[in-house]
């Protein structure tokens, strides 16, 4: 059983953080972030060509996490690989000690930087979860027996602020039926809305990690409200960021993130949090310190 899975099952408040691979082959900054965070969290989630922008692969990043003594969670989207490539990458991951997978559909190709590429989507996120379950039974997707069986801890995502919400929840339930053991949420800011979502989600046998994205300015918050599907930053938080002294907006954002984590943990509102620093990885240790997580 993976260290991350053990943490999930232990009942402790689980902390994961995200690592974004470089555009190119200079992995030194990524290694610095891994070194900074690996002993502060229960898992490091490595993004997979996030936002359809070409990057160093999540598999390579996850391997670095493993080699550096951290606990990797491999993000795997269905956008860039067909079912043969996905299964082959899963074999490779498992053989190198990467045993946690986050299954994602993947953003559309056209929102990224290779707009003319072919989006694959041979599988969707539910089918990928089901495929990993099939592999764990010693068979591939064509029904052939495997020589060596990979057993992953598998997760997926949900967007609690999606509009309309019910189709999203129906898919959430399908993901759990397909074997999701943990669910990371899209970034949440309105804790009343999140609490309502958790009242529903608690009915299912799955661990929920609340998504935390660090706000760096009021402008970023407004931009996300307008442009990022399923993100809602309440006006009070935007005002708080706007009211920060000049040059202190990031500090305010760090405080908001820490306060949110503390509230979720102290109120046992979720099983843990997943921190997406998106270029502000350096701030994650401070967020954890301020949240009282040591």
């Amino acid at each position: 059983m993976s260290r991350f899975k053990e943490a999930l099952d232990s009942g402790k408040f689980v902390i994961t953080a995200e690592i974004g691979p470089p555009k190119g082959v200079n992995v030194e900054p990524m290694k610095h972030h891994i070194a900074l965070l690996k002993d502060r969290v229960d898992g490091l989630n490595v993004t997979d060509n996030q936002s359809s922008v070409l990057r160093y692969p999540s598999l390579g990043g996850a391997l670095l996490v493993k080699e550096m003594g951290g606990e990797p969670i491999l993000q795997m989207t269905c956008r860039d690989r067909n079912r043969l490539a996905l299964q082959a990458d899963l074999f490779f991951a498992y053989s190198r000690g990467i045993t946690n997978v986050l299954c994602l559909t993947g953003d559309a190709v056209v929102v990224g930087d290779h707009k003319d590429a072919k989006g694959v989507f041979d599988l969707d996120s539910v089918q990928l979860l089901d495929a990993i379950h099939t592999l764990s039974e010693g068979k591939d997707l064509a029904g052939n027996p495997l020589d060596g069986t990979p057993r992953f801890c598998k997760g997926a995502i949900v967007t609690p602020e999606a509009q309309p919400l019910e189709p999203q929840l129906l898919k959430f339930e399908k993901k759990i039926e397909a074997g999701a053991e943990f669910i990371q949420t899209q970034a949440i800011y309105d804790l009343t809305n999140f609490s309502n979502f958790m009242d529903y989600a608690r009915k299912f046998q799955v661990k929920i990690l609340a998504g935390i994205v660090v706000l760096v300015s009021a402008g970023m918050a407004k931009f996300m409200n307008k442009n990022v599907p399923g993100i809602f930053v309440p006006k009070a938080l935007i005002d708080e960021l706007a009211g920060a002294p000049k040059g202190k907006a990031l500090e305010t954002g760090i405080n908001i993130a820490a306060r949110t984590i503390r509230t979720i943990r102290d109120g046992r509102m979720a099983d843990g949090v997943h921190i997406m620093a998106i270029g502000r990885e350096e701030s994650v240790p401070r967020i954890l310190d301020l949240a009282g997580i040591h």
Binding site: T105, A108, V111, D124, D130, Q168, K174
Partner: protein, 223 residues
């Protein structure tokens, strides 16, 4: 359902036929006429532009259906104009281009790009309705095709890019799964959305699609 086509940039057409001086133009009286890309008016306009660009148009024809084998009749009706031409510029879908290529015994060039099988909305607006995947799921999706109408062709519900009924790819595209949800809800059949759809059989029809439908599925399986 018809084939939706779009005219290639004129400069592209000139580059494609740069080796050729004498051009015979073929349009199509069906889909390309309805799309205003290969009807009588568009063929006449193309002849004029090519002439201005220094080409010699040996003749034009707009058969009732460019893809029909009747197109072959043109070999006799327009024999001299075709014989005089270096190339046939075809203003129809790719089916018409391929029919002309096989029937007219001449080099061909497409003047149009074939976009999709679609329906016509308000004038000039077309939307794709079927990808011809060979595994129809419309009974579970309120008669709205997720393979076609969802940008990612997702079978098991909306992705995280759904946003108040719109799709993350923008350009006014609606989220197919919101449409499907609304339709199924109005029919009291939301349970259809709980159904797990396994990965698609992308070779439901082996490509290129060639099939003998003179036998039933059962007979074919027994053979």
């Amino acid at each position: 359902m018809k084939t939706i086509t779009r005219t290639k940039p004129f400069e592209q057409i000139l580059e494609d036929i740069s080796l050729d001086t004498r051009v015979f133009i073929v349009g199509c009286g069906t889909c390309a006429t309805l799309c205003h890309t290969g009807g009588i008016d568009e063929v006449a306009a193309m002849a004029e532009r090519l002439t201005v660009a220094g080409k010699i148009v040996t003749g034009v024809a707009v058969p009732p259906t460019g893809c029909d084998e009747v197109t072959g009749e043109m070999r006799y009706v327009f024999r001299d104009q075709l014989r005089a031409a270096d190339i046939v510029l075809v203003m129809s879908c790719a089916f018409g281009v391929q029919t002309a290529a096989s029937q007219l015994k001449k080099p061909v060039a497409p003047a149009l790009d074939t976009l999709f099988m679609g329906k016509e909305g308000p004038a000039g607006h077309y939307s794709e309705i079927c990808m011809q995947c060979g595994e129809c799921v419309l009974v579970y999706t309120g008669g709205i095709c997720p393979v076609t109408a969802c940008h990612k062709g997702l079978l098991n519900g909306p992705c995280g890019g759904t946003d108040n009924g719109m799709c993350e790819v923008g350009n006014g595209r609606e989220c197919a799964w919101t449409l499907i949800y609304n339709r199924l809800q109005s029919q009291g059949r939301l349970d259809h959305m709980r159904r797990y759809h396994p990965p698609k059989t992308h070779n439901a029809v082996l490509r290129p699609g060639i099939i003998d439908l003179t036998h039933s599925r059962e007979e074919a399986a027994a053979q």
